[in-house]
């Protein structure tokens, strides 16, 4: 198959949400010894853009976005070992996500996590009710670029502030960008916490983090 045709096919498989086909085509890239970075850019990249367009025109809804994201991840899992072996970075950066200690509102955080990975970020999801110490320790251990924490309760929002403060105390504030989310979070609160930004919804969250990490992620894409 010629390359152009191949990129089109893998992109279509993702856009049409055909998981088996997308994974199979990714495997073919490995057996066919293709340039995996090119596959990611021209295959996955095109697919993600197309899905984005279909979302904007109102044809695709959240389930298509989420399933599309999951399929990109599965196909990426096939390519990742090759990429690592070549010492290349495949992502826009690595983002740790969690809901803050005391808070179990997981739905928004889950959507943000899936959207980020669909859009080419590596995501470390620590789940819900996560203490500040654990967030920082994991951020250091996993060498992430950014931390995104969600809080929906007034009683748990102080944890977002405590996170930034603890990062300052530990001398790691400059190592990671910090983004906040959740229904009660707003720009004023982000400023108060000394964090780097917030987004009202998952689409804006991806834009925000993409913009903020552009050119600065350790993986450096």
């Amino acid at each position: 198959m010629n390359k152009g045709r191949y990129f089109e096919e893998i992109s279509d498989a993702i856009v049409n949400l055909e998981e088996g086909r997308a994974v199979e085509l990714a495997e073919r890239a490995i057996t066919g010894d293709m340039d995996v970075l090119e596959v990611i850019e021209k295959g996955f990249g095109t697919a993600i853009n197309k899905i984005g367009k279909l979302w904007e025109t109102g044809e695709y809804f959240l389930p298509e976005l989420m399933l599309g994201g999951t399929i990109v991840q599965r196909a990426m899992d096939v390519l990742l070992p090759r990429l690592k072996a070549q010492g290349k970075a495949a992502t826009f950066g690595k983002v740790l996500v969690a809901t803050i200690e005391g808070d179990i509102h997981s739905i928004g955080k889950n959507i943000v996590a899936t959207m980020l990975s669909a859009n080419g970020f590596e995501v470390v999801d620590l789940g819900v009710d996560v203490p500040v110490e654990r967030i920082i320790a994991q951020a250091i251990e996993q060498d992430v670029d950014a931390i995104g924490v969600s809080a929906l309760l007034t009683t748990t929002m102080p944890g977002q502030k405590a996170l930034v403060e603890a990062m300052v105390t530990k001398g790691v504030r400059d190592k990671f960008k910090v983004f906040l989310g959740g229904a009660a979070v707003n720009a004023e609160w982000v400023k108060h916490c000394g964090a780097d930004g917030y987004a009202e919804n998952a689409i804006d969250a991806v834009k925000l983090i993409k913009e903020a990490l552009r050119g600065s992620s350790k993986g450096g894409k």
Binding site: G58, F61, L62, P63, E101, G102, D103, I104, S106, I107, G108, N110, I111, V128, D129, L153, T154, T155, M157, P158, A183, A184, N201, A202
Partner: protein, 494 residues
């Protein structure tokens, strides 16, 4: 034809969604989930009571509940809960198809009555909501409504409770961050009722706590559930399933999963203390697949609400109801969604219908919205009352007397029969317009939205709720003081 002239009956609006077979099927599937899939219980005491009753525990916190245990607990849960007001007078009988309407809790933003702007909620908003609701005849119970941002975070629920009990005599539906602040609130309630036993006998409060979909009882939720069981504080333990996000997108799947969450809560509660008062039900709500929001104002909520009402009537366990709107202002959408919601919740026969007055997807409050919903409920109560069919109301003699044959100038308006019945037969609104165009214009030509704002202002200016005994007020202040030190720096369990 049944034509007994002496017989009298009432025509009442009735609505049932599920037939017996459908209830049985959902129930059987729920039991299968509880018995085979199991639920997660993140609290050692919760696990202990379940294990003691013969439930199997796997991987530390996954519990499988045999059907016999579930059925015994449905049986032991009371089918009637009597709720009193602050003064110890009967206020609500949560039973059968009795419907009561009241506020919801925790709205972080409030539409300011003076400026019309949305701003951060403060403690005064809790006071205002309590006072407005105290005045409104169709609001049966109150709640914090606002979530105050101007008091220490860890004591906000304690401060809310004090503000509510001091500004209304109506029963209080309340949240707590955890068992720790709940203890302070229980102490306040005892001080108001005149002791532990008096409060048990005549509870004027209902706690509101929620497990976490899918199939998880968090430590914080179970703590509060069991505390209420032990202390005889009625609790409303309600799972929320977001269709397609924290449960299946299909309504049948969503409600069955939610029922497993609700029933496993009832089981823990009843095992802790058989016969302790619990109100159940669930919120099974769509996640809008574009805006990614929780849709209070959707038709699906009305269907899932109807389903649990049918199922809990079958279980003979009192059930709650949820209303609300997705509009961020008090506008036509808010009115439409609230009117449908309150009406259908009443038709469902839900007992404790909460979130009356809620705006903005559960994030926004407005005292004017309480006034609007008071009128909506007033309308609904008239509707639900139906009408009597009897010799007197069929009024055959009257029709005959005013017939063309006997009275060329029929004048029903001057009849005693009309005088006798019009006040009870014909509803009159308090705020809705019924004026002719000129009269309406003369009064300023105001919209409904403007009039409910004005009425809310009037209420706040003129209505003074029955005051609380000054001795009790002092005790409450002292408890809040203690809570401020006792809860400082406290982290609540999720």
């Amino acid at each position: 034809m049944g034509n007994d002239a002496r017989k009298s009956s009432v025509a009442r609006p009735r609505y049932r969604l599920l037939d017996d077979g459908q209830i049985e099927r959902i129930h059987a599937t729920t039991l299968k989930i509880l018995e085979e899939t199991g639920v997660r219980v993140a609290d050692p005491e919760g696990i202990r009571v379940l294990e003691e009753a013969g439930c199997a525990v796997e991987k530390e916190d996954i519990v499988r509940i045999p059907r016999g245990v579930v059925e015994a607990c449905i049986e032991s849960a009371p089918s009637r809960i009597d709720i009193y007001d602050r003064k110890g007078e009967p206020a609500m009988v949560l039973e059968g198809r009795n419907s009561y309407f009241g506020l919801g809790t925790d709205l972080p933003t409030t539409v300011d009555l003076e400026t019309g702007e949305a701003r951060r909620s403060v403690l005064q908003d809790v006071v205002n909501a309590a006072r407005v609701a105290d005045f409104c005849p169709n609001i049966d119970f109150i709640a914090s409504f606002a979530l105050p941002g101007d008091v220490p975070t860890n004591t906000m629920y304690v401060e809310c409770f004090k503000a509510e009990v001091e500004n209304s005599t109506k029963p209080i539906f309340f949240t707590a961050a955890g068992k720790d602040d709940l203890e302070y609130i229980a102490r306040m309630a005892r001080a108001v009722a005149g002791g532990m036993e008096a409060l048990r006998q005549k509870p004027f409060l209902i706690h509101y706590s929620e497990p976490v979909a899918p199939l998880t009882h968090s430590k914080g939720a179970v703590d509060k559930l069991l505390f209420c069981a032990e202390n005889g504080i009625p609790i409303c333990y309600i799972p929320t399933v977001l269709l397609g996000a924290s449960g299946p997108v299909t309504l049948a799947g969503g409600i069955t999963q939610a029922n497993a969450e609700a029933l496993s809560g009832i089981v823990m509660h009843q095992l802790k203390k058989g016969g302790a008062p619990i109100v159940s039900g669930w919120a099974v709500v769509p996640l809008d697949m574009k805006s990614m929001t929780y849709c209070y104002g959707s038709p699906e909520v009305r269907l899932t609400n109807a389903a649990f009402a049918d199922i809990y009537h079958h279980y003979e366990i009192p059930c709650w109801g949820i209303v609300g709107t997705d509009s961020h202002v008090l506008d036509q959408q808010a009115a439409m969604e609230h009117a449908f919601a309150e009406l259908l919740a009443a038709m469902d026969g839900a007992n404790l219908i909460h979130d009356v007055g809620y705006l903005g997807q559960g994030l926004l409050g407005s005292p004017a919205s309480i006034v609007m919903c008071d009128e909506i409920v007033s309308y609904i109560r008239r509707f639900m009352k139906g009408f009597e069919i009897s010799e007197e109301t069929l009024a055959l003699d009257l029709i005959d007397k005013n017939s063309p044959l006997k009275a060329p100038q029929a004048n029903f308006l001057a009849e005693r029969h009309t005088l006798k019945h019009f006040r009870t037969e014909i509803w009159r609104p308090a705020v809705c317009n019924r004026d002719m165009p000129d009269a309406w214009r003369k009064k300023g030509g105001k919209t409904y939205g403007q009039r409910v704002v004005e009425k809310a202002r009037e209420i706040l200016k003129h209505h003074s709720p029955a005051s609380l005994d000054p001795g009790v007020v002092k005790v409450l202040a002292a408890i809040v003081g203690e809570a401020r030190t006792g809860l400082e720096g406290k982290k609540f369990n999720a």
